[in-house]
């Protein structure tokens, strides 16, 4: 009962985000067709990978004639951040191994970040937001393959809305000096590596900033 209420809270928290996965999903559907995927492949990729940046990277590389290996490496580097993200949120998943495997697939940047908005991760919010975004992402992709671009997400500034959301969700963590040091170190690592490392690597490297947690 309590859990269902939290799930509803999660969906409510995600409502303002609804336009983005839908529009970006449609944009991915359009790009996927350009890259030589058919509609079924585009929808299946959204349903199984469920990670926007990696899917865009893979489809862009295929579209440019870059080949399967390059597309796979780029997408997996971008998604490697899910290892530290899922470790951070691991203790909130209940039930059997199989159930944890299935429900962990609902971890995406936005569901993960919103689940931690009170300063500790909440299972109901992660599941609620995750399911909601999953439906929009897969549905948006399907629609994009049929009707084409709906609306350019960048024209309405959605690409600036997400980093601002993550900044807002970072703020509550910054009460302890250790968290401030970690966040600053992570930001510096990311900034330094962005111009020199392949996309995705800077975020993974930034997780090393958490070693500051070892300081007493």
């Amino acid at each position: 009962m309590q859990q269902a209420a939290r799930t509803r809270d999660g969906i409510r928290a995600a409502l303002p985000l609804a336009a983005a996965p839908f529009l970006f999903g449609a944009a991915f559907g359009v790009l996927a067709l350009d890259a030589g995927l058919n509609w079924l492949q585009a929808v299946l990729m959204s349903a199984t990978t469920f990670a926007g940046s990696a899917q865009f990277a893979a489809a862009t590389i295929l579209d440019d004639g870059g080949g399967a290996a390059a597309a796979i490496v780029a997408a997996l580097l971008l998604n490697a951040r899910y290892v530290p993200l899922s470790i951070a949120v691991a203790p909130i998943f209940p039930g059997s191994r199989k159930r944890r495997f299935l429900e962990s697939q609902l971890i995406v940047d936005e569901s993960w970040a919103l689940a931690g908005r009170s300063g500790r991760f909440e299972y109901g919010i992660l599941i609620g937001v995750g399911l909601f975004l999953y439906g929009l992402w897969v549905g948006g992709t399907a629609l994009g393959t049929v009707v084409g671009d709906l609306l350019d997400p960048e024209a309405i500034g959605l690409d600036a809305a997400f980093p601002a959301l993550f900044l807002a969700l970072l703020a509550p963590y910054l009460r302890s000096s250790r968290a401030v040091m970690t966040a600053v170190a992570a930001a510096v690592i990311t900034l330094v590596l962005l111009p020199v490392a392949p996309p995705g690597v800077p975020i993974v490297a930034a997780s090393l900033a958490a070693l500051i947690g070892l300081r007493r």
């Binding site: 899917q55 295929l62 998604n79 470790i87 962990s104 600036a160 980093p163 807002a168 997780s207």
Partner: protein
């Protein structure tokens, strides 16, 4: 064929990445030193996401309308605005600058 290969490999490995924590770490209590690292993993990853999504490009730093939008969003965060207001302020700022 290429498409199926990419979809299968990226999908399967991404599923393993996402399951890494909940399946392998699960609910067991971590040793205190590991727990203190995991505790600050959230702010580290959030900060990294903010930076990549604000100035990230293809192996370059890109200073564009996103930065102005996020700066406006930061002011909203500082004023303790609700999440939705932060996002709207950031999006509207970036969109308006693009318009002119």
């Amino acid at each position: 064929m290429t498409a199926w290969l990419v979809i299968a490999v990226v999908g399967a490995v991404t599923m393993v990445f996402k399951a890494a924590g909940p399946v392998m770490v699960g609910r067991r209590d971590l040793p205190p030193r590991v727990a203190s690292v995991v505790e600050v993993l959230a702010p580290a990853m959030l900060a990294a996401l903010v930076v990549t999504q604000t100035v990230g490009g293809d192996r370059e730093l890109v200073l564009d309308e996103r930065l102005a939008g996020v700066a406006a969003g930061a002011v909203a965060v500082w004023l303790r605005a609700p999440l939705i207001a932060v996002m709207v302020v950031a999006a509207a700022t970036a969109a308006l600058i693009r318009l002119f």
